[in-house]
């Protein structure tokens, strides 16, 4: 077991800074926002060090109690790449917030935003199934408050709906965890994953359904995603970007970790223990999410609601990719998750700049090219990446997804059909907006002046999307080894945490 306890600072530093932000807030409100930027810069550089110097995979032991007796963080290739993405998106949104967050209590807004990102990093790295619940609540509570923030009153309704659905979801998750505890007497993910076959199948099936139901709320899967349109539309744009670019990544990660690593049964294609194959359940939920999300996005006239439904549909695609169960499928899912996180966060940020100068109906996008070429080009890049056009990041992940479902064959060909259907519908509504941007003349021809602080994150995201599109090796190498971690749970996960799990 390789340990690198110093990486506990990955969770410790955001906590320390979050606790100290109210003190900095006494000095200056702007300082509180800068502390967020500095802390997330540290997180990003630290995770980049872990990625580039190939420190991973390693364990972080908490309090000198080794797993399975104490708590640990496990940072393997999957956690590494997702932490890099999350801290990058978080850093960019925090730079954007320097300009955009200006209503009300800015100090507590900065604090909650920082802990949302810090909590997501903890959620992804933790190796204890009850600790997952705590980090879910950390991200949950900060996002309810963030969603209620802003000048508009409809934010409150969306935030309350999110709070109710999400806290019921986490209660179900807790029940699932404790049902497993009554059987195995441990809370360590690695030990549970290795010993999952020693449980009673009936109880395990019910626990699995409870866990999937609880986690599907954060992962935005049907029928637990009723909160998505209201919350995304009501919240201010950087918060929508955060929920879409960071929150859903954490949710999907835990869902996949529980289903594929904890419940998974190794084979050519991963399936799960228990009377019901949870992978099939996720395939069905994912398919329903894609169909409902894309069709709802098609009829929206409010562009923010359209992005919210599109976000839902993208998460459905990710879930479908993982549910194929092969290594290529998991690779496609991870790649798609990263692309979606970057592109959707960028679109919400661009929308934030546009909305500050006008409305958020689809018609308000008309003639954006004449108002601000920078925003028009970056919006097009994001939309085309989500569509999956060549030269953009989204192409490679959708290509791998179709390839994986084709290789699996059988009724998984159906997934391929759904992906193509989704792409066509997406093309329809995104290209409509892109058409409005470039062809129509604006009603009022006043220029939109983009300030430096929102321009940096938007430009960085756009460059990254193009870079991934042209050189997919940036992400694909580590995504492929992350896919190995998911599909081969013993050598990918369990033996890295508890090397002596098979005794003599």
């Amino acid at each position: 077991m390789k340990t690198y306890n110093f990486a506990a600072l990955l969770v410790g530093v955001p906590l320390l800074m979050a606790f100290s932000i109210p003190l900095f807030g006494f000095i200056s409100k702007q300082l509180a926002k800068w502390i967020t930027v500095l802390t997330l810069t540290f997180e990003f550089l630290f995770s980049l060090y872990i990625l580039l110097w190939h420190v991973y995979p390693f364990n972080v032991i908490m309090g000198n109690w080794v797993p399975p007796f104490g708590e640990n963080l496990y940072i393997g290739s999957l956690a590494t790449i997702l932490i890099v993405v999350i801290s990058f998106v978080g850093l960019m949104i925090s730079i954007y917030n320097l300009w955009s967050a200006k209503y009300g209590d800015v100090v507590h807004f900065a604090l909650l935003f920082l802990m949302f990102v810090g909590g997501s990093i903890g959620l992804i790295s933790t190796g204890d199934i009850f600790n997952v619940f705590i980090f879910m609540e950390i991200t949950g509570i900060s996002s309810y408050a963030l969603a209620a923030y802003g000048p508009e009153r409809r934010a409150l309704g969306g935030a309350f709906k999110y709070l109710v659905i999400s806290s019921i979801g986490s209660t179900l998750y807790l029940f699932g965890v404790l049902l497993i505890y009554t059987q195995l007497g441990t809370l360590n993910i690695a030990e549970i994953a290795a010993r999952i076959s020693q449980t009673t199948p009936g109880l395990l099936t019910f626990a699995g359904i409870l866990l999937v139901a609880g986690l599907a709320v954060e992962a935005e899967l049907f029928p637990f995603n009723g909160w998505v349109p209201d919350t995304y539309t009501g919240a201010i744009n950087p918060v929508s970007a955060t929920l879409s670019g960071i929150g859903s990544v954490g949710g999907v990660y835990v869902l996949i970790r529980i289903v594929m690593t904890v419940f998974g049964k190794n084979g050519n294609f991963v399936s799960t223990y228990g009377n019901l194959d949870l992978m099939t359940l996720i395939a069905i939920l994912g398919t329903a999410t894609v169909v409902i999300g894309e069709l709802s996005a098609l009829v929206q006239t409010n562009i923010k609601k359209m992005l919210a439904y599109s976000s839902m549909a993208q998460m459905g695609l990710v879930a479908m990719a993982f549910s194929i169960g092969s290594r290529l499928g998991a690779y496609a899912g991870i790649f798609q998750l990263i692309n979606h996180s970057i592109a959707k966060a960028m679109l919400f940020l661009i929308l934030g700049v546009i909305v500050s100068f006008g409305g958020e109906r689809v018609e308000d996008m008309k003639g954006l090219w004449y108002k601000s070429p920078f925003l028009a080009v970056t919006f097009t890049i994001g939309a085309l990446s989500l569509l999956g056009l060549p030269l953009f990041g989204g192409f490679w992940s959708k290509f791998a997804l179709v390839d994986a479902s084709f290789q699996r064959g059988g009724w998984y060909d159906f997934i391929m059909a759904i992906v193509l259907f989704a792409s066509v519908v997406e093309a329809f509504y995104y290209l409509k907006v892109v058409g409005y941007i470039f062809t129509s003349k604006p009603a009022v021809s006043e220029k939109i002046k983009v300030e430096i602080s929102p321009a940096i994150p938007i430009a960085a995201f756009a460059i990254l999307i193009i870079a991934i599109g042209i050189f997919p090796q940036i992400v694909s190498g580590i995504s492929y080894s992350a896919a190995h971690e998911l599909t081969d749970k013993m050598s990918g996960y369990v033996l890295n945490v508890i090397p002596t799990i098979v005794g003599h």
Binding site: N5, A8, G63, W65, Q183, G202, I209, I498, H504
Partner: protein
């Protein structure tokens, strides 16, 4: 939560969902271990009660803790009897086993838990920001007896709260109940005087410093003992007030934090919602 559907459909749907859940729980409960209670000897809690994790770790390192079917041999771990008031320098010195789990064995959970409460308090501040508290004209002031009584009670309640969190490793209780007790004393002050308001920035400073103290204790463990949130103090004799290493320190930080946090939440919540 579904707004446009008729009452009847909603009720039938709710009964359907609840029914499925209850049937599922019933089936799961029938498959739980004998007498429906977890046998402590078959869980990791066994080592927490026996304060035996180091022995178990030794077996784990030698590869004898799990058998070849990956079943842990928890009952084979050697055990040294613990006598209250005599056994000294155990791996964890708290007489209250729940406390030893909360703060020591699973201390990272508790750090998260403190954060959750902190975030909830910050969220309340964020949502209710800019609300002016108005003192209604019609209501009468509380009587003198109430005013003096709540102040005397506050002193006693404060002392009791401090007692609870300092003795967290010996008796039931600890930082969270202790903090809640202190906050209830401050709630009494609100009742005693119309328009009472605690020093808001004082509460914020208290809250921030005690939260930072918790993380700093964790980082001291990382530097001194090579592991985040590791105990760096001697554990003493079980049952003494000065035993259990850093548990008392952490509980003092948690108690102060929870006390000031809940008081701040109470303060933010007392808003007059009537129109002028």
């Amino acid at each position: 939560m579904m707004n446009d559907t008729p009452e009847m459909v909603k009720k039938v749907f709710a009964i359907f969902v609840v029914g499925i859940l209850i049937v599922g729980f019933f089936m799961a409960f029938t498959q739980m271990p004998k007498a429906n209670a977890v046998n402590v000897n078959n869980t990791v809690s066994r080592f927490y009660v026996m304060k035996d994790v180091d022995q178990a770790t030794e077996m784990l390192d030698k590869g004898t803790y799990f058998n070849k079917d990956m079943v842990p041999l928890r009952n084979d771990v050697p055990y040294t009897p613990i006598t209250f008031g005599k056994s000294a320098n155990l791996e964890d010195g708290a007489a209250n086993v729940v406390t030893s789990i909360v703060v020591d064995y699973r201390g990272f959970d508790t750090l998260g838990e403190v954060t959750v409460l902190f975030l909830a308090a910050s969220g309340v501040m964020l949502v209710l920001h800019g609300q002016k508290r108005k003192i209604p004209k019609k209501r009468t002031e509380p009587s003198e007896i109430m005013y003096v009584g709540t102040r005397i009670a506050f002193a006693v309640i404060l002392l009791f709260g401090i007692y609870v969190f300092i003795h967290g490793h010996l008796t039931p209780g600890g930082g969270f109940p202790g903090g809640a007790i202190i906050a209830s004393g401050i709630l009494g002050l609100f009742l005693g005087k119309q328009g009472y308001s605690p020093n808001k920035s004082g509460l914020t400073i208290f809250e921030s410093l005690s939260g930072m103290a918790y993380v700093v204790i964790g980082i001291i463990g990382l530097i001194g003992e090579k592991s985040f949130l590791a105990n760096f103090l001697p554990t003493g004799t079980i049952g003494d007030l000065f035993s259990a290493g850093f548990i008392a320190l952490i509980y003092i930080a948690i108690g102060m934090k929870v006390g000031s946090e809940l008081s701040a939440v109470t303060n933010a919540m007392i808003i007059d919602t009537e129109d002028d």
